[in-house]
């Protein structure tokens, strides 16, 4: 695990980030938090937890925060793998560790967490329906036989990191990562994970209506490619 950097994008996660980082530190030695212009004390909390904090002076969106983390890993570390791990405590550290082991053992470029191969606890019905249609959309647009989409737990090796160059700053970056797998011809596999929806993640997490923004961003990207 010494050759792995965990990238944690965070935006106003003060109440939970200390706990999440403590759990990560039990298994990982190298953690970098990308504070996406939080208005609360997230950055200070993360620093006092002893992790490196990269700070966006203005809020850009999770996609931009991840790309900053990726750039850091590529330019300033010799890590072989990076893990993307949300700061809100939806994921389990055990799953991340298992995914890094799979990535190292198989040499695959990118390992994607899949809640549908694993378990999901406390997911609201509306979210389940939305995720199902999002999955159909992702499978169709990327041509990849995914079992889950927009899952924030991933392991990327350096080749995959270099291929990313995320331009979507908001939540559409998850679709962008999937399409990069296709365009950069990355090898990939999925790994079953457990996701826990708590009251905090339900309150703090993405509202379902934001799916409209994702679709719109992706459409604009396609049109924009010709502008």
């Amino acid at each position: 695990m010494d050759k792995t950097v965990v990238v944690v994008p965070m935006y106003n996660e003060g109440p939970v980030v200390a706990e999440v980082l403590a759990a990560l530190r039990a298994s990982f030695t190298r953690i970098v938090c990308v504070d996406d212009g939080s208005a609360d004390d997230s950055a200070a909390v993360a620093r006092s937890a002893g992790v490196l904090v990269l700070r966006h002076s203005v809020n850009l969106g999770q996609g931009a925060a991840l790309q900053t983390g990726f750039d850091y890993v590529l330019r300033h570390t010799d890590a072989t793998h990076a893990v993307t791990f949300d700061a809100d405590g939806q994921y389990r550290v055990d799953d991340a560790v298992a995914m890094v082991e799979v990535a190292a053992a198989t040499g695959v470029d990118i390992v994607l967490g899949s809640r549908n191969l694993g378990r999901t606890e406390g997911q609201p019905v509306a979210r389940r329906i939305l995720m199902r249609s999002a999955l159909a959309f992702s499978r169709r647009s990327t041509g990849l036989e995914l079992t889950d989409t927009h899952n924030g737990l991933r392991v990327l090796n350096r080749r995959a990191l270099a291929a990313m160059c995320l331009r979507q700053r908001g939540m559409a970056h998850a679709s962008e990562i999937e399409s990069r797998i296709r365009s950069a011809d990355l090898s990939w596999r999925e790994h079953p994970i457990t996701m826990t929806y708590t009251d905090y993640t339900r309150r703090k997490g993405q509202s379902n209506i934001n799916a409209l923004n994702v679709v719109f961003d992706l459409a604009a990207e396609r049109i924009g490619a010709t502008l």
Binding site: V34, L52, L54, R55, H56, S57, V58, L60, A64, Q67, T68, D71, Y72, R75, H76, R167, R169, A220, G224, T226, L227
Partner: protein, 118 residues
């Protein structure tokens, strides 16, 4: 009839213009000259309002205001798309700038730390 040819041709020209790639000095100059011409036409239309109706009749539109509406719609759509593209460009510049600053801060911090250690 003439108005249809004119409107479709202007939409075509606007699309072609948009597909020309990134803004250059040349494009900017042409846009500015176009804006000056529109301003001049507006002054003329204010001084001689009947001229608008004459021009409208000439291209096959019954009323002058209708012609203004058609032209405005084309100009508005064109301007909106140009502005959206510029905004996206600006967004990505801000993202790159913010990212560079975040990485620089860490580098500076690391340097300061190593100089303290040394």
């Amino acid at each position: 009839m003439i108005i249809r040819v004119f409107l479709i041709a202007s939409i075509g020209a606007a699309s072609w213009w948009l597909l020309q790639g990134r803004a250059t000095g040349h494009r900017l100059a042409v846009t500015r000259v176009g804006a000056l011409l529109v301003a001049a036409a507006a002054v003329v239309a204010v001084l001689v309002p009947s001229l608008v109706t004459d021009v409208a009749n000439l291209v096959g539109v019954r009323e002058g205001p209708n012609l203004l509406l058609y032209v405005l719609i084309v100009v508005f759509a064109f301007t909106s798309i140009v502005q959206a593209a510029r905004l996206r460009d600006l967004d990505s510049r801000i993202a790159r700038l913010t990212r560079a600053q975040a990485l620089l801060e860490v580098e500076m911090g690391a340097k300061a730390e190593s100089s303290v250690d040394g």
